[in-house]
């Protein structure tokens, strides 16, 4: 079932949790609501579920094209998985999963044997069939999470909503459950929304990512889109680490730090200043000598070689601090140590104007001087 949210606002006292939010989720997709805490993502999820309502007169929630304002949470056909699972601690795993079936009105309620069959099937699906008689207090965090999921699925929801599903688990279990959820979604293919503040989780799991901040949606797109073509500075900043420079563009040339490069397409507009220029740490080419490519000259300050990538911190004569990531092999080839002179050529540059609109994205091909690849419209996507 598709979900549509139209112009929903929600305030808690003076605090605006959601500010005129609109969103469409096509049937069968797995969508992540990504944002820092306080960005309104959980509130949005709860409004979709019917656990909360938007401010009076502020907008609509549509399921499959029809308004669900008059439906209680239990009648919307949603399965909600709570951040802390909210398992009924006085009921066994089996009874927890069976709960939704047992509270159905007598006419719709399946027979005892059907309930038993359904619950055991679900417990098999979440690989907990052997723990059916345990109580929640006897389960690990990851197991509780799966019980909560099975419980939500028992009522055959048309929409599955998960609030920080892996938030309370440790890193390793998290990783496992992530892949497991992805597989589960491919199996049952129910429209799924999940809230997370973990960008890796969102980028790895979701078909589409909705990035939220301060009660507004900053960008909606596929994981590649939001990562490669962030619509706003916030998205750029939130999805991975960045180096930020203040720069200027005039007369077809772009300047930041001690770098100056040809930027013909910026010339057709007026001079744009100030500009904010973003380069991710892994988007630098590190050289020990000047090979003619436009580059930032800097001095290597610290090296951290623990991990799959080597993290370097450099400082320019102007005092800009630049973080760079290079591969272990490259680090071996370069033979550098703190104090070495460095020439950093950016491979991918993103320019933002007024903190908001993405102005341009450059892919700078190696060996070629400066090649502009694409220029986005100032409005963004």
């Amino acid at each position: 079932m598709s979900i549509e949210v139209r112009n929903i606002s929600k305030s808690f006292g003076a605090f605006k949790a959601l500010d005129d939010v609109s969103l469409q989720v096509p049937k069968g997709q797995l969508v992540a609501l990504l944002g820092p805490s306080g960005s309104g993502k959980t509130t949005l999820l709860r409004i979709i579920a019917g656990l909360e309502f938007g401010d009076p007169g502020s907008g609509l929630v549509l399921f499959h094209g029809s308004d669900v304002a008059n439906y209680r949470v239990g009648d919307r056909g949603v399965g909600f998985v709570f951040q802390h699972y909210a398992l009924f601690r006085h009921l066994s795993v089996f009874e927890n999963v069976a709960f939704g079936l047992r509270v159905k009105p007598r006419r719709e309620r399946p027979s005892k044997s059907e309930i038993r069959q359904r619950v055991m099937d679900l417990l098999k699906l979440v690989q907990l069939d052997r723990l059916a008689d345990r109580y929640p207090s006897q389960l690990s965090g990851g197991q509780r999470q799966r019980v909560a999921l099975a419980r939500a699925l028992a009522v055959e929801p048309k929409v599955l909503l998960l609030d920080e599903p892996f938030g309370a688990l440790d890193a390793k279990v998290r990783q496992e459950l992530r892949q497991w959820l992805r597989r589960l979604h491919e199996e049952i293919h129910v429209t799924t929304l999940f809230v997370t503040h973990d960008q890796d989780e969102a980028l790895e799991l979701a078909d589409r990512v909705v990035v939220m901040n301060h009660g507004r949606i900053e960008q909606i797109g596929t994981p590649e889109q939001v990562f490669q073509e962030p619509a706003t500075e916030f998205v750029m900043n939130f999805l991975g680490s960045v180096n930020v420079f203040h720069g200027r563009a005039e007369g077809g040339r772009l300047r930041f730090s001690n770098l100056e490069m040809h930027a013909p397409d910026l010339a057709n507009g007026a001079e744009v200043t100030p500009l904010r220029i973003f380069v991710r740490p892994h988007d630098w080419t590190f050289e020990t000598h000047d090979n003619g490519t436009p580059c930032v000259r800097a001095t290597l300050r610290t090296v951290n070689a623990a991990g799959p990538k080597v993290r370097l911190q450099l400082v320019t004569d102007e005092g800009d601090v630049i973080n760079v990531e290079i591969s272990q092999e490259r680090y071996g080839e370069l033979g550098i140590s703190p104090g070495s002179a460095a020439f950093l050529a950016p491979r991918d540059i993103k320019l933002f104007k007024d903190q908001k609109d993405l102005l341009a994205t450059w892919r700078v091909a190696q060996d070629v001087t400066v090649e502009e690849e694409r220029l986005l419209s100032p409005e963004g996507p």
Binding site: F12, G13, G50, L51, E52, F53, V73
Partner: protein
């Protein structure tokens, strides 16, 4: 709890108001109307009559005086015990630790009348100590005094000593010193008293049907209040802060006054308020040990009963109104302390406040 109720927790309006009205009605009939009635009855003859009822009758006056003597003694004794017991329970592992915690609750579950009876059995005329007390009661006083002094010395000593940063060999060493100093104090105080003949000889010491009995019975009934409040607070704080203070170079006394006491302050005040309310109002236990000697062993609650039996209702209500006023003050103070304590420790240890 957040100020806004969650959708799934909100009840229909009719139910909300229906339940609220019923609850308010119950509280009104059970609690509020009786309280108002006390004052209405007490003041029914006018302020002048009320005043005379309360202070003109010498026996009533004496009962007020007696209550004001007995309650503070019991409260102070219980404070000292509670601090020592809760401190020991939290800081040391010793045999009988669980037993001690269990015993603290015991007086709650013993009927006050039975409590009073127990003291009569021990100290009464036919009691186990009765004959002895009548013959030469004061001869035990030197031992009691010496005992109290010894316990005090040990307590002070252990506060000074054990508050050193933990070190294994020092502990056993200081233990010996503490015990020795205790024994020495006991002997010294005892000899001084015996030598100077401080206490009268061959005279009967009245405990039952006299003030000491009242104090003992009141102590028994009220002593869990303070300890019960302090133990959870002390447990929640744990010894870390004290150790931190010691590691910063504070002495044992400094740590006690600057770290321990401020931490338990609100819990202590809270316990004292409850303890005091109960001490003033105790009826059953005191009833049994007092012997109802007018103008001698009648506390205020007993005076109420006596006036009631004499069909002197206005007098009875006058005394009752004074106690009710105290109860209301107790409630106000309790609410205030709860709020203060709650503001300080956001996870208050007082959610169970007032239970048992």
């Amino acid at each position: 709890m957040q100020s806004e109720r969650r959708q799934a927790q909100s009840d229909p309006v009719w139910m909300k108001w229906g339940l609220t009205a019923t609850a308010t009605g119950v509280i009104a009939v059970l609690v509020l109307i009786p309280v108002i009635n006390v004052f209405a009855e007490a003041l029914s003859g006018g302020i002048g009559v009320y005043w005379r009822n309360l202070f003109a009758d010498p026996e009533t006056r004496h009962s007020i005086y007696l209550t004001l003597t007995v309650a503070p003694i019991a409260v102070v004794a219980n404070i000292i015990f509670a601090i020592a017991a809760s401190w020991a329970i939290v800081h040391f592992e010793f045999p009988g630790r669980t037993l001690l915690t269990a015993l603290i609750d015991l007086p709650f579950s013993v009927s006050p009348v039975v409590a009073g009876l127990m003291f009569v059995l021990i100290f009464g005329l036919q009691g186990y100590l009765g004959k002895f007390l009548r013959r030469d009661g004061y001869s035990i006083m030197p031992y009691i005094m010496a005992g109290i002094a010894a316990v005090a010395v040990i307590a002070i000593h252990s506060i000074m000593q054990h508050r050193q940063l933990p070190s294994a060999n020092r502990k056993s060493h200081s233990c010996v010193i503490v015990v020795l100093s205790g024994v020495a104090t006991f002997a010294a105080v005892l000899i001084i008293q015996l030598y100077f003949h401080i206490w009268p000889e061959h005279q009967s010491l009245k405990i039952i049907f006299a003030t000491p009995g009242l104090v003992l019975a009141t102590m028994f009934v009220t002593f869990p209040f303070v300890a019960r409040e302090l133990i959870p607070v002390m447990e929640a704080i744990g010894p870390e802060e004290e150790l931190a203070a010691l590691s910063l170079g504070a002495s044992g006394w400094q740590t006690f006054w600057r770290v321990t006491i401020p931490n338990i302050k609100w819990g202590l005040i809270y316990g004292v308020i409850l303890c005091n309310a109960r001490a003033v109002g105790e009826f059953g236990a005191v009833y049994v040990v007092s012997g109802h000697i007018e103008g001698k062993t009648d506390t205020m609650p007993l005076r109420i009963e006596k006036l009631f039996q004499e069909y002197n209702l206005p007098g009875s209500f006058a005394v009752a109104s004074a106690l009710t006023l105290l109860a209301l003050l107790t409630l106000a103070a309790k609410t205030l302390v709860e709020r203060k304590a709650h503001a300080i420790h956001t996870r208050g240890a007082h959610t169970r406040g007032g239970i048992r």
